[in-house]
Symmetry: C2
Subunit: 208 residues, 2 copies
Amino acid sequence: MQVPPARRSNRERSDTTRQALLGAARALFVARGYAETATPDIVAAAGVTRGALYHHFEDKAALFRAVVAAEFEAVAADIAAAAPAAMDPVAALKSGGAAFLAAMQAEGRTRLLLLDAPAVLGRAGVDELDEARGGLNELQLGVEAAIAAGRFPVVPARPLALLLSSAFDRAALAVADGEAPATMQTVIEAVIDGLAADRTDPAGTVRL
Amino acid sequence: MQVPPARRSNRERSDTTRQALLGAARALFVARGYAETATPDIVAAAGVTRGALYHHFEDKAALFRAVVAAEFEAVAADIAAAAPAAMDPVAALKSGGAAFLAAMQAEGRTRLLLLDAPAVLGRAGVDELDEARGGLNELQLGVEAAIAAGRFPVVPARPLALLLSSAFDRAALAVADGEAPATMQTVIEAVIDGLAADRTDPAGTVRL
DNA sequence: ACTTGCATGCGTGCAGCCTGTATGTTATTT
DNA sequence: AAATAACATACAGGCTGCACGCATGCAAGT
């Protein structure tokens, strides 16, 4: 029997093709990297034409940006899903780090967010997307809380958050490359504990 | 008057064109990034033809790899030039970090080594070049020394070195983006001091 | 309700550029 | 003088972004 073009609203059509493009693009970007992935391959996998791609996205980089934005969203969601919330600031940083480490192990996530994204979108572009959905801001708030509670040394919160974020990223990369998660988690906690231990020193301990 | 082709040895010819290519490529990679730099532009700037480029380098990525390798070499040289050498392990890490931070401020170095290199050569490829000329190994040795001296917590040295290296990188990036070097240095020292402070705790201090 | 006009979603073809290689030419080494 | 290294030139294939064309959804007026 004939299939009458199944009258769909424009909104529906757009959404489905956008999703198809984003899905196909993500898979190929992960498998081959941004530079090695050609738009003809993407649209073939998505079952549409290049016309559709360039109708929905300004260019190949814009498509990539959309994929990365969705990925940040997913990371934030994964972390939020595992959030125990209210606890002391230092413990919160540690458990947040663990949650981040776990969330980043989703297939291809490290390549997408930590390898290709900075080169394609620039560091600033990545940070923008990251901050748009929690990420860095969340971490900075955690650092500020730890400082305010007197558990961390009094240093500029944003720069410290940047360094910690970078360390978390590298840890995620190491795990994705085969390093034991427990090992990286241990080292991360050593760094955080260090910052915290530092604090109690002048006031709460006596050095012999 | 005529310029007789000035008989030059093959070695000389190769060296000069290689240098011209590396120099021109570096400048363009820094100015526009790897992906946006075309080989025709590189050879035009170098005053040779694409034939020469593909005679000396397997492909565009190989040329980039050579540029990156030279840059790591330069970083190592800059750091070595500022090395005060023998001091206590923790102080050595701090001064090493400062030297690294300063060395990375050379024009375009952060873009080359921290943004494009990971995407083009892969994390493993970058680490390989880095280790080939000191870099990570140096840092790992420093960490091992601090641990051996009982100044750092007993954690796997390599992973900790990775995290610290990553933090240093991010600090260099921040400074290149306009952040005050003193600020980043302060934060880095806070992290290192934290790791060190941690250590004296069980043995050398009494917690009240 | 109908149709008229416009906007949206998408397919197709084209122009320009870029990479890598094959082939030719000149200079150097042996 | 033969062989080889250092380059120059020409070419093939592929990719990106845009211009254009077509069909369908949609909003308004009557």
